[in-house]
Symmetry: C2
Subunit: 218 residues, 2 copies
Amino acid sequence: MSRALHDLANGTLFGVALNYQGLLNQRIAEFEQAPYQKPPVKPVLFIKTPNTRNSHDGVVLHPHGERLQPGPALGVVIGKSASRVSVESALEHVAGYTIVNEFSLPEDSYYRPAVKAKCRDGFCALGPELVPHDQVANPHQLDLKLFVNGELRQQNSTTNFVRGIPQLIAEISEFMTLHEGDVLITGTPEGRVDVQPGDTVEVEISGLGRLVNHIVAE
Amino acid sequence: MSRALHDLANGTLFGVALNYQGLLNQRIAEFEQAPYQKPPVKPVLFIKTPNTRNSHDGVVLHPHGERLQPGPALGVVIGKSASRVSVESALEHVAGYTIVNEFSLPEDSYYRPAVKAKCRDGFCALGPELVPHDQVANPHQLDLKLFVNGELRQQNSTTNFVRGIPQLIAEISEFMTLHEGDVLITGTPEGRVDVQPGDTVEVEISGLGRLVNHIVAE
């Protein structure tokens, strides 16, 4: 991880589930059943704990007897504390952007991701760089690609966010303070794939570079 | 918060849901319905993010238009990194114990506590002291009491844990490393009560003292 990224993205890692329209559409039927009976009305959050931090070129352990899925995502690094900020002023609280690969065990229910599926050691790679906010023309118009062993396996665009970055920051900061160094992981699109020991996994986001990780048997 | 507690309990705050037998029994019927159809087989974890940290004598804001419930709990402070430790050696990784008041908005579903209900600013008070492991005769035989404005409102004992401390450490460290300074919040018993602005809330655990907090309107 570059020095700037390490210094500037050292806070809490907040994941946002179900933030791609295609993924939400796939799940609508499930939400209409018990116990929820309606789709989520607010962002569904989860935490990647500090033990999950990993970096560009880092190794990710494939847990024995489990399935492992990479989670390509745009990371938004907070630059200035945000408490109850408006949608209009939310982007003033952003330092910049980075690539996140938010590894998970697949889960049947998307409603509230389980700590056990999300928080194994090394399950959240960030990097390679922090690109400052003013160097990204439009964070809601970035192509996001996942390659496994050089082959394109997942592709989407941040134009398909359910909630854009200002709305996420406004809705989350309504009930909790976001601090400098916190990272919002803005969601992984539908179509997650399984990876195996020996695979090389790369996430590319336009203008942010490519984040590489290596899957190794536990 | 005492200096020792501040220095020694500065890591991730892991909550364990449903760890009192009486609470689990109340919820069994719910788990047998969709989508889960069985009670949880592993500890149900949640995270109290760093913005929730609060201390002895600290103010807790009562969110406007919501219900607020204190969550008396025994806190176990990790003293030495734990990765895949056995039940037998788990207690070697414990530095000591403290009182936790894990405030929440009440939730309909206990299965996976929502970040929004658990992680408002100041929603996790710790203190007043860290009592070293060797000064607590038996952490599975402690009385736990909640007082609101001096009146006893909730009472239980750590003898009623679903999972004891060694089992929690062993099962959690199976998939994630617990680090020095991390805190396991071992669960809140059944019978949570609502508190109101103006209330003084105290949690007493035998041998660990009394943790006092003040509820103030937002």
